[in-house]
């Protein structure tokens, strides 16, 4: 994990001091709410429906157990005893008091954390593959590049007042677990024929009211050029991105209106001017940053264990969890464990302070003291020994974190919706809960296999409904909350935007409608191996439409 330098520490302290002064000027009335807003947003502080909301950055989803304990402390001391993990791997607190926020930032800074650039029209916290460094399908570890992007983008003097927010995601594996296609810039580490490491550069993806899949602007960018190329893209965007209309200000609209080829030309022309600057990475720069992400001292272990096998046979509940919530590790004898934050008892992504403390302890005991957060609002213990899995599962079960539903129907992404959010036009958490209650049968959910269901409470699409196999969008129609259904989206390497199926359903109807959609899939799939998306792509929308709208 990246270890802060003296300069990194200093920067956090100075930022907290600066923010404390900004809050004090605001409280004294010296700073207008309008201008304070620009400052607080750049420090992750939103004004929501009932209170302020503080979004804390989890750089590329990596947390130490010590950091997790601080997050628990903040939840307990300054909030109402819980936090919410977002789709961008960050954690949000829904009830902080403005005057206490500087104290919270002090507590965060003490463990090398902050809320810098987690909102506002600037470069946001960079996200990545939650399995970085341990995945079997990894081409190269994305974390060193994420960290370089973090440093380059933090308080970038030129790009702190962009036309709109700007999100970058980096993936280093064959399978895309970071949804790079729906980011303003998505980067995928790849190798060329000469086995050199480079990046595919996607620009202009995004969700919101105009969902778009990112365009491949460059097929192979040598890794040494990553930051100069980002600088060129951002410079083109800062100059030419639209500022006349909030809804057309994202880079996806610029790419779309300029045209992919012309946009590429502009970026390449700008890059010619900066590619030889000192921002170009030398081998030693990459090596120095990569040293922070070296493999821990893994033990040499056999990839099987008689006790583990025995538990599998004798304990069906354990077997369900093993089937669904584990992933193979690059090292034999280790496994990657998903901690489901999608239990019937809590809103998707929510974790209590007690759970956080317990997770920190489990990470220390079983997983080298680290935790990762995921784009699908779950947590990961990435380095668990096969021999420890049963004990871990027992502990997780007690904590309500062992729901065996990873990548299954009830592993729902949901935005906070109208229960918290000032933008939302409909509730989303209650819909997620109704679905979780309705589809509580393990056997049914397990039989459905790999499937994604996401819910957004408004057109801004924070719940990523566009890229779910089954997407639900809540809107307000003449004072009534209704829910639109989209099918066929994907946030993976085969990224796609789902299509609206037909007229919206009421809150009472939507759960049954989902039930019908699932039945159509089950009736039409070729066999139990064919997942929902494959079936949908094969049979198209019509059978679903007929069933629902007859």
């Amino acid at each position: 994990m990246y270890q802060y330098s003296q300069a990194d520490h200093q920067l956090l302290l100075e930022r907290v001091t600066q923010f404390r002064d900004q809050v004090s000027r605001r409280l004294k009335g010296e700073l207008s709410e309008d201008e304070f807003k620009q400052q607080r947003l750049r420090n992750g502080l939103y004004l929501q429906l009932h209170a302020y909301m503080l979004r804390v950055a989890v750089p590329y989803g990596l947390l130490s157990s010590e950091q997790m304990r601080t997050l628990a402390h903040i939840a307990r001391r300054y909030d109402r005893g819980y936090g919410h993990f977002s789709t961008r791997q960050n954690i949000q607190y829904n009830w902080p008091k403005l005057e206490e926020v500087p104290e919270i930032l002090d507590a965060l800074a003490a463990v090398e954390m902050h809320a810098i650039q987690t909102s506002g029209n600037c470069i946001r916290n960079t996200t990545s593959d939650p399995l970085a460094g341990v995945a079997r399908d990894e081409v190269a570890d994305p974390r060193p590049y994420c960290e370089l992007i973090r440093q380059w983008s933090t308080f970038h003097p030129e790009f702190n007042f962009l036309p709109r927010k700007f999100k970058i995601a980096v993936s280093g594996a064959i399978h895309d677990r970071a949804a790079v296609a729906v980011h303003d810039i998505g980067l995928r580490l790849v190798k060329n024929e000469s086995d050199e490491l480079g990046l595919e550069v996607y620009v202009g993806g995004g969700l919101g009211r105009t969902p778009m899949i990112g365009k491949l602007i460059r097929e192979f960018l040598p890794v040494h050029d990553i930051l100069t190329y980002l600088e060129a893209i951002l410079r083109v965007y800062n100059q030419f991105g639209r500022r006349d209309n909030l809804y057309k200000a994202r880079i996806k609209i610029l790419v779309h209106e300029t045209g992919e080829d012309e946009f590429r030309k502009q970026v390449e022309a700008e890059w010619e001017n900066v590619k030889a600057s000192k921002l170009r990475l030398r081998d030693e720069d990459i090596e120095a940053i990569s040293a922070h992400f070296k493999d821990p001292d893994y033990e040499i272990l056999p990839d099987n264990d008689a006790d583990f096998d025995n538990h599998l046979i004798t304990n069906p509940e354990f077997a369900k969890w093993v089937d669904n919530n584990l992933e193979l590790h690059k090292k034999p004898g280790y496994r990657i464990a998903y901690l489901s934050l999608k239990s019937p008892d809590q809103p998707p992504g929510d974790v209590t302070a007690d759970q956080m403390d317990a997770i920190a302890d489990l990470a220390d005991r079983y997983s080298l003291g680290q935790i990762r957060s995921t784009h699908r609002q779950n947590l990961v213990l990435s380095d668990v020994k096969l021999t420890d899995l049963f004990e871990l599962w027992e502990e997780l079960t007690k904590l309500g974190l062992a729901t065996p539903n990873y990548n299954h129907l009830t592993d729902i992404i949901s935005c906070p919706g109208m229960d918290y959010c000032a933008l939302a036009t409909a509730r989303s958490i209650p819909i997620a809960q109704a679905l979780t209650d309705r589809f509580e049968s393990y056997d049914y959910v397990n039989d459905l296999g790999d499937i994604s269901l996401n819910i957004s409470g408004c057109i801004n699409a924070c719940g990523h409904h566009h890229v779910a196999n089954i997407g639900i969008l809540g809107v307000n129609k003449k004072g009534v909350e209704v829910y639109q259904l989209t099918l066929g989206g994907s946030a993976r390497e085969d990224a796609a935007i789902g299509k609206i199926l037909g007229p919206a359903f009421t809150a009472d109807e939507i759960v049954d409608a989902i039930g019908e959609v699932l039945e159509v899939y089950l009736e039409n799939r070729e066999d139990s191996e064919e997942d929902f998306l494959t079936t949908y792509r094969r049979i198209g929308q019509s059978p679903f439409k007929e069933r629902l709208y007859g």
Binding site: Q38, W152, F155, P157, E158, R235, D285
Partner: protein
């Protein structure tokens, strides 16, 4: 004239803005600056003046339009019509770093305490503060942060290469 800072010191501003379209007989003898369009239209005539000359750019203007005149221009004024409109940050960096402009680059408009740190990093060395700004607080804000990660107009290398 309001609060004006140059090279981190409160200063007196002797420059006068003109549209550039005035009858040349009515222009005073002091230092003047004009919009880019006027500069392009009456460049030769303006160059005969016995005064210092400056140009004020819209934040949509291409800075390379004055590339041939940089030696003759003592001032380039860049605008922040709203604090959230950050286009002039790019203009300043291009002027300072790419075109190697050595004269005064001045920020006007929403020039605020919490922005000047970024502005100076991008190459601005002069600031016409908005009326409500507290001069002393702004002067302190230049040093609010001692750590910078990126190269910019003030330092050409990122932190890992310094």
């Amino acid at each position: 004239m309001g609060k004006y800072i140059k090279d981190r010191k409160p200063s007196e501003d002797n420059w006068m803005p003109y549209t550039g379209l005035e009858d040349s007989d009515t222009l005073p003898s002091g230092d003047i600056y004009v919009p880019l369009e006027a500069w392009k239209e009456r460049r030769d005539e303006l160059l005969t003046r016995n005064s210092r000359l400056g140009v004020i750019l819209e934040n949509t203007d291409d800075v390379s339009e004055i590339i041939d005149d940089l030696d003759r221009l003592d001032l380039v004024v860049l605008q922040f019509p709203k604090m959230v409109d950050g286009r002039a940050f790019t203009q300043a960096r291009l002027l300072r770093e790419r075109l190697k402009y050595k004269g005064e680059i001045r920020a006007v408009g929403d020039v605020l305490q919490d922005q000047v740190f970024y502005m100076q990093r991008c190459g601005f060395n002069a600031f016409e503060l908005r009326d409500d700004q507290d001069l002393n607080s702004v002067l302190k804000a230049f040093d609010e942060m001692s750590v910078t990660y990126q190269g910019a107009a003030d330092v050409d290398a990122p932190i890992w290469r310094r």
